[in-house]
Each structure stands twice: as C-alpha cells, then as structure tokens.
Amino acid sequence: MSENVLEIHDVKKHFNVGNKQVVKSVDGISFSIKKGETLGIVGESGSGKSTIGRTIVGLYEATAGKVVFEGKEISQLDRKEKREFNRKMQMIFQDPHASLNPRMRVGEIIAEGIDAYGLAKGKAKQERVFQLLERVGLHPDHATRFPHEFSGGQRQRIGIARALAVQPSFIVADEPISALDVSIQAQVVNLLEDLQKEEDLTYLFIAHDLAMVKHISDRIGVMYLGKMMELAESQTLFQEPLHPYTNALLSAIPVSAPKLRGTRERIVLGGDPPSPINPPSGCPFRTRCPSTMERCAVVMPEWKEVKKDHWVACHLY
C-alpha cells in the first residue's frame, strides 16, 4: 500500500471560453494515490472535480503541471506506452443513459475494449464477456440486448463491466451513483468495493454525496473553485476538519435520523460560489468564509501538510 500509483503535481486545466476569458477549472492541484487505495474527491458544482478526473484519464490535456502514472509522466509517453496507459486507466461515467451507445448490443459494448487490445478472440472473447456480465451481477443472456432494455442501475453495471474488460489497474469513477435510486446506489457501491478487493484496483471516486464518499474512500480531498482546500483520511476529515469550507460543507449534510435534528451546528455560508470566470483574488473561498482575514485577499494560501497526512490550504494554519 505504500507505492504511489498516481502523482499529480501542480496540475492546471484552463478552458478558453471566448472573449479572451479563461475558466480556470483546475488551478494548481497536487496529490498522490497509493496502490489499492480509494481517494474521494468532493466539491460542489463548478469546483473542477470532474475536470481533474478527466485530466487524469487523459480526456483533457493538462494546461500545466504533471500527471505521473506508475512513475511515468503521461504527456511524455510514446504511442505504445500511451496505449498501455489507456488500458490500465479506465473510467466509469455519471450518466448511465448517455455513456452507452444505444445502437450497440451490450456484448459488443463490453467486447470493444477486448478487441481493441486483442485480449481475446472468438470463443474466448465470448466467454470473457459472459464472465464479466456475471461478475457485475448481470446474466450472460443480457449480452444480446440493447442498453435501452436496462434500468439505470443495470446500465451502470454494464459501464463497470466495460471498464473491467481491459483489466485496468486504476479506475476514475465520476459520480457513478448520483443518477441512481437510493436502494440501487448501495448495490453499485458494494459491487465497486468487492471488485476493488478482488482485482486489486485503485479508485479515484468523484462525488458530491458526502456520506457515500466517506463510506467508500480511504482519503478525501475537498475542492472549491478549482483549488484543493483540504485532503485527509476520511475519518480525520469528518472528525477534525480544518478548513472553514470543509467545516461548512460537513455542517450542511442533513442529519441521519430525526432525533439528531438540531444537534449539528450549521454554518451557513452567505451567498453563492463566485463565478469561475472571475474568481476572487487570493483564496477563492474568502468571499464566503466566516474567518476571512486581510491576507486572504492578497495571496492564495500555501498547500501544506499541517499534521501527518493532513493537508490544507488556509492562512489559519
């Protein structure tokens, strides 16, 4: 568990939106993920959590900074290495309705990656597809059906089978359960946990549902407006949050039982998150922060390790 599979160093991803305006979706983020670990990323809409996931997978090219996977920087890979990287790094998408080709049969969808990498042919390929379907809790007969014949939860299982087909070692799951019903969410989360153990996978789990992220992650990173605010082990983050934003975010989670009503002291954040096109100077959270200081408007606080494995970017520490 000690070796870092993925390291990202000061990664930035900026989008040009015309009128000479630039959206800094991800603005200088660094973290690393150990083998077999699950790192959860939480943040509100517009925080850049999906962008960081897509940058890591290579769907976006980073504007600046380095993404290092298994010791190699991904922008420096040659064609052969890049192909291998694409196999090892897979993604599960949020919307199970939009991420499967409606004109392809489920078997074809899953076999596409197997074909592309020549992992199996003919009967062996067929067997592999059946095996994958069973592994994710579907029936081999389902291979000949089309995606529209399945419910949301089943489709998400197909998406997982497709990701597993090429025997990846790292999976980026971008809000894999937020489009599903409560009772189905638990099915998919349990499946992801089982697969992690059996296949020795490493996960980057992106979500906005804090309770679910806490459940599945070993460590959690909190993002706000393109910056990482805090990163710590999940227990620590929930019990001793340091950053005022993390504090406010945790206090906003509804209680889990009516008898606990009113026990959680709510920190109400004034206003809305600022526009990412025109973020505030210094720390992006300072406009809503209850403990803002003069210094916050001047410089973005440094990203530092305050306690062991507990990173935070805030002038308070």
Partner: protein
C-alpha cells in the same frame, strides 16, 4: 390542527403505446394545517404523479385519474372544472418544482414572473403587485431586490433561481405548498439554505408542506410525518420518529439500511435492496415488494396485505405484521437474512 387535504384511494393511469401503466394504485393520505408531510420513494413509485393529481395537473389526454377523491377543504379536486382549478392553483396551492433551471421562463424578467400570479389571483394594481413581489424576494433571502427584480433567470445561480421559484409559489399565501424534490438539483450547502428557508416560511405563515423526495436525510431534517411509496402504493406511513426508529415495512427498513450512516463511527457494509421495482404495466397481484423482500412468504405473492395500524399515525401494509406470520426475529435466527 385541522385537516387541510385528504386523499382517498387515488388511482392514476397513463395510456402509452405499451399499454396502460398504473402509476398510482390506490393512495390515501392526509395533511393537517402547519404540518410537513414527506412522500418518499424511488423513481417510478408514483410520488410525483400523486403530487400532480393534487394540483389537478395530471397530463391529459394520456393520464387519467381513475378513482378516488382529493378533498381540499370541502372541494374535491378531481371533480373541479378547469376554471375552478385555475383559481385554486397558485392561490391556495403553490408548487415548487425540482429543476430551477427549467421551471422559470427564460424570456421573462424575474419580477414579471412573480407578479404574474399576484395579478391573476389578487385584486391589486401593478404597483402594489410590484411591492408585494419585492417583499417576497426579500422573504426568500435575495439581496438587492430592486435590481434583481428586473433581471432574467440566466443572471441567477441555481440556488437563487430556486429561491425565485419559492417566491412565486408563495406569492398568494397558499395554505398548501407542494415541493417536488426542491433541493435535488442543488449543492449541499445550498440545499441546507433552502431547507432552512422552507422551515422558516412555514413557521411564519403556518402553511402545510407536502415534500416529495427520495433523500432520507432531507426527510430526517424537516418532515413531521412520512408516507413511504412503492410501486404506486403507500406501503408505510407514520410520524418521522416512528418511521426512522421503528420501521414496520421491510422496504422502509431497506431504504434506511442502504444509505451510509454518517453519525456512526464504524464503517459498515451497506445493505442494498436486491433487484429492481416491478413493472407497472402488469403490477403484481400480491405485495409489490415481495419479489425483492428478504422475508417474503407465500401469502405475499398472492394477496396484497391490508393496513396494519400501530398507533394513531403509524400503519404499514405488510403481512409480517399479521399475527399469523412468524416473527422476523425468528427468521433471522433461522438464518434467512442478516438484514437487521
């Protein structure tokens, strides 16, 4: 507290190319003045259609209220003419929709949209209506109201738009507010703000709220009573404490067990409900949950259970509560499931 709304044995069906789909199959509930009732259930359980029926907004010609009464005061909403319904909608019942991005007209100024309902239902001049609209904007926590009044929806963020939608729903001081997943499209911190706002308004105006949601956290936070819907039927109903502390239907229990508990220190494995909800083109004759229920018995597949009452408010429709059924505890010791 006096009774504000009572729904009796409501049935709503939709005609589709695939045949008739029975979305709501005999739903009964009531709501008193000043109370918050949460209707909980998963997609397709009929919770939104129930709300539409209460507003008299079941889409025609495909949808049809097949049976039942919706008593609002002494009027039956299912029997009212279009004109009478329009008088009630907006003035006596206000509606808050899920998606603040699509429930406002993008080509109309915010102020005009709020004023619209006021002008229609109340005898006020345009200027008086504007004053009232500004007051509503202040009430829902929007600052700089004069400027905001003449802005368009795209100039508002999601949370701000939802506040505007709430302002429109409140415009004519409705006695009943129906909120269909009011916070689902919003971020957690904004969700907390909107829930606080709803609670606050309810306290100030003594209005009743029917809150439709799938999020048990939201329910735990704001509801007084809960009705749990599954496959077009209310399977359990009771006060919020009864539902969370002492659920009597395996589906309710399943829902509670399938979300991670943030307030518990240990990491427990989630207990999902296996399978998926039944097809409502041909709903099962017995209990609709039987196919997914870890405690299902023979009788469950054959007959729909009757209501079993546990207290003034608490009832469930499950054969396990029948005194002839063996106790769940015994089943667990017999090793059938480790659900509890």
């Amino acid at each position: 507290m006096s009774r504000l709304l009572e729904v009796n044995d409501l049935k709503v069906s939709f005609r589709t190319y695939g045949g008739e789909i029975q979305a709501v199959r005999g739903v009964s509930f009531y709501i008193d003045e000043g109370e918050t009732l949460a209707i909980v259930g998963e997609s397709g359980c009929g919770k939104s259609v129930t709300a539409q029926a209460v507003m008299g907004m079941v889409p025609v010609p495909h949808g049809k209220v097949k049976n039942g009464q919706i008593l609002f005061g002494d009027r039956d909403i299912t029997k009212l003419s279009k004109k009478k319904l329009q008088q009630i909608r907006g003035s006596e019942i206000g509606m808050i929709f899920q998606d603040p991005m699509t429930s406002l007209n993008p080509t109309m100024k915010i102020g005009t949209q709020i004023r619209e309902g006021i002008l229609k239902h109340q005898k006020l001049s345009k200027n008086e209506a504007k004053e009232k609209a500004l007051e509503l904007l202040r009430l829902v926590g929007i600052s700089d109201v004069e400027k905001r009044y003449s802005q368009y929806p795209h100039e508002f963020s999601g949370g701000m738009r939802q506040r505007v939608v709430i302002a429109i729903a409140l415009a004519c001081d409705p006695k009943l507010i129906i909120a269909d997943e009011p916070t689902t499209a919003l971020d957690v911190t904004i969700q907390a703000q909107i829930l606080d706002l709803l609670k606050d308004i309810q306290k100030k105006r003594n209005s009743s709220i029917i809150l439709i949601t799938h999020d048990l956290g939201v329910v735990a936070e704001v509801a007084d009573r809960v009705a749990v819907m599954y496959a077009g039927v209310v399977v359990e109903s009771g006060t919020v404490d009864e539902i969370f502390e002492n659920p009597k239907h395996p589906y309710t229990l399943g829902l509670l067990k399938s979300v991670p508990n943030l307030d518990s220190p240990d990491k427990e494995r989630l207990i999902p409900i296996d399978g998926s909800p039944p097809d409502l083109f041909a709903p099962p004759t017995g209990c609709p949950f039987a196919a997914r229920c870890p405690f299902a018995m023979e009788v469950c597949v054959m007959h729909m259970p009757d209501k079993e009452t546990f207290s003034d408010h608490h009832y469930a429709k499950c054969w396990l509560n029948d005194n002839r059924a063996i106790k769940v505890e015994e089943m667990i010791t017999a090793g059938s499931e480790q659900l509890v």
